[in-house]
Symmetry: C2
Subunit: 250 residues, 2 copies
């Protein structure tokens, strides 16, 4: 059985400052945990309810990891979902927190500029991994990528990344210029993305839906997805998917 102290610790991870301090997060639900295991996530242990434990078969992947029993009421304390499946995992995220750009090593990558919606962020991370993009830079005004909602919508994508870098916009800007990246800023008024011809490695910059692109990136090369209908804009994670599908080398 999981100890009272450990419950207290897990509960503290609901706050961003504690996730950053300890570089640990909680994953919830079987599908997410299994996908994260396949991705090579560093899972320290599982907590299972009695009910869940009785349901999993003896040859399940989950049995490879140390596990503790947890009561339904304690489980509710440490997560923010209303209906729980009866399983959580504690993951060490240390290897994903990179502080500088060296590890990108001239690969194509995505920059999220002030994206605050964790659902959109998680969906974009998932799409990046689908298309083989395993480096991402988040400007410092983005939401925490290890926020529970973001992890949920990423469905394990986080743990396939080589680099999840949080950095100030002006440092990102300097890096892009210095390394001569093809810079593509997604915008409602830009050049048709289908006409892009790759000259160098590219960096795709996506702004937040309500606020758009920040001043730092405003004067760079803009690309757009041609609109046929009348609605003002596309969801940013959908736009990310369409653009990546157009610019990825297939």
């Amino acid at each position: 059985v999981i100890s009272k102290n450990q419950i207290k610790f897990l509960h503290s991870l609901l706050l961003k400052k504690n996730r950053l301090k300890h570089q640990k997060v909680i994953l919830e639900g079987q599908r997410l945990i299994e996908e994260s295991m396949r991705a090579g996530a560093n899972i320290e242990y599982l907590c299972l309810t009695e009910n869940f434990k009785n349901k999993i078969s003896s040859n399940n992947l989950l049995n490879q990891i140390e596990s503790y029993k947890i009561s339904n009421s304690d489980l509710k304390k440490v997560t923010d979902t209303k209906v729980s499946q009866g399983i959580i995992a504690l993951v060490n995220t240390k290897k994903y927190h990179k502080m500088n750009f060296d590890s990108i090593q001239n690969n194509n990558f995505v920059v999220l500029d002030g994206i605050q919606d964790p659902g959109n962020m998680g969906t974009i991370l998932r799409t990046c991994i689908w298309f083989g993009i395993d480096s991402i830079i988040l400007t410092s005004n983005c939401c925490d990528p290890f926020n529970l909602k973001c992890i949920r919508s990423g469905v394990g994508a986080h743990f396939y990344f080589k680099n999840i870098i949080i950095a100030k916009s002006n440092l990102v800007y300097d890096y892009l210029i210095e390394k001569k990246y093809d810079i593509l800023v997604a915008d409602l008024n830009g050049n048709n993305i289908s006409n892009y011809n790759k000259k160098n490695n590219w960096a795709l910059i996506l702004g937040s839906e309500p606020h758009g692109i920040s001043d730092t990136f405003k004067n760079l090369f803009k690309i757009t997805i041609p609109k046929i209908g009348k609605i003002e804009s596309l969801n940013v994670s959908v736009a990310a998917g369409i653009i990546l599908n157009e610019i990825i080398d297939k």
Copy 2:
């Protein structure tokens, strides 16, 4: 000031059965309401908090509609969001509820097969309108398209539709075959969507993430977005965007 009875009525619209019975829904927030007005939504009236009323300028679009004052506590009763902007609108949705397929009239359209997640559904509706697709069929096991979350993620898209048809899968199947549509079922194992050559009008069928395509549509022509990375799947609304971008006549 809005009456107690009216508050009671607005509150009742939190339930699907009442939304269907009265064919009315509540919109929340300035951006959503303005976009819906531009889309031609039939807005019966607005409810504004004192605070919000003082903030809007005299030449604002919103002033064209009949409005009532509402207290902050009453506003909380009739919506499901924690933080409210101070404005809601009551919309009549009668014209969108179509019961048969006649109104599609040989146009391209999208079929959502058992999609239960309102955020995904709303995002797909938004993407359809961006690409000029204004007919959609939802199989009867989908969530309610006029669910608050779905409307929120649609950001007004709902009201640009000519047809939002809810129908049983087998009737949809019969219609597609009878009308000789090019049927494209999005699936993880299918033909590369980039190779699709349009012969007739198309219908794109999208299944739910956890359950996939239902048996009714399982033996139809399958298309896929080629995967480069390792993650199992894409978010369904992202997949919808990528596929629509590939098959739309631009």
